[in-house]
Symmetry: C2
Subunit: 151 residues, 2 copies
DNA sequence: GATGAAAACTTTATAAG
DNA sequence: CTTATAAAGTTTTCATC
C-alpha cells in the first residue's frame, strides 16, 4: 500500500460517493489505474464497506451517552445473553468488551435524560448479570469518524 | 418520516452503494418514488453523507483504546488547543467532551501496547492542560455502527 | 404512488502505447 | 502508468396514469 492508495482511502473515507473519475483526479491518477486500485483495496478487505451516516438528532435521538457496565463473572451463558441483547438494541451504536474496572463500554443514542433513564431501567438493568453501571453524557463531539484516517 | 423512509435509511446505513433500483426493490417501492425519497432525506440532512469503512488492522492499527482525560479547568485557550490537537490526530477516531469524573473520552486506534504508549506519552501527555488519564483497552467489539439504526 | 422514456453520466472491461 | 474505446448499467429529469 503506497501513498496513492492512502490518498484513495482518505478520499473514500470522507466521501464514498465520489465517482471514479473525480476520485482519480483528486489522487492524481488517470481513471483506469485508479479504478484498479479501488477494486484491489476492496478485494483485499482494506475497504470493508460503504455506509450512509445518519443524523441521530433527526431520528429523535439527539444525545450520546457512554455507559460502562460491570457484570457478574460467573455465568458464561448469562454473559452471552447480555452481549447479544446489547448488540440487538437499535439505540446502541457501539459496544466493547474492555480491560479495566468495568467490563463493557457501550455508546448509545438517546433522547435526553428521559431517554437515557428508559434505556437504562427498562432495557440494560433488566439484562442478566448486570452488577453496576456508570455513565458519561456526551456534551459536545470534538471528532467523529468511522475508522482512523490513513496517515 | 414513515416506515418506508426508515427502511430506506436502514438499507443505506448497511450498504450505501446499493443502486436505486435495488434499494427500491428492497423497500417495496418502484424506483421513481424511492429515488425521490432518498433525495428528500439527503436534502433534509437525515442522511449526512456516505463513507467508506476501512479495516483498521490492515492500516497497521489493530487495537482500539478508550482514553478518558481529566484536564485543568483554568485556561480556555489551553483547552481549545487541547481539543484541536486531539481532533487532528489521525489515530483518534472519535472524541467527546462529557459529564462525569473525567472531562473527555477519546477513542483511538493503536498498534498494541507499544502503539498505545507512544500515543499517550509522545502525543497526549505533551498537550497542555492534561492532568490525568485512564484507559480501557478494547478486547472484543460486540457491535460497531455509525449511527443508531432507525427503529 | 406506478410506469415509461430519454439524455447524461458512470462503471467496468479491454487494448495499445 | 496513460490514453482511448465501447458496451452495459445507472442516475436524473420529466411526463403521464
Amino acid at each position: 500500500m503506497d501513498a496513492t492508495d492512502k490518498r484513495i482511502l482518505r478520499a473514500l473515507h470522507a466521501e464514498a460517493r465520489l465517482t471514479n473519475a473525480e476520485l482519480a483526479e483528486r489522487v492524481g491518477l488517470s481513471p483506469s489505474p485508479c479504478w484498479a486500485r479501488v477494486r484491489k483495496l476492496e478485494q483485499a478487505g482494506v475497504i470493508r464497506g460503504y455506509h450512509a451516516a445518519l443524523d441521530q438528532a433527526k431520528l429523535g435521538l439527539p444525545d450520546t451517552v457512554i455507559i460502562e457496565v460491570m457484570t457478574e463473572k460467573h455465568d458464561e451463558a448469562q454473559l452471552a445473553e447480555f452481549e447479544s441483547a446489547i448488540a440487538a438494541m437499535p439505540e446502541v451504536i457501539e459496544a466493547w468488551l474492555v480491560t479495566g474496572e468495568y467490563d463493557y463500554v457501550i455508546k448509545a443514542a438517546v433522547g435526553g435524560t428521559a431517554g437515557y433513564e428508559r434505556l437504562l431501567r427498562e432495557k440494560i438493568y433488566r439484562l442478566p448479570g448486570v452488577r453496576h453501571t456508570r455513565t458519561a453524557f456526551g456534551i459536545r463531539c470534538l471528532k467523529q469518524s468511522y475508522t482512523p484516517r490513513p496517515a
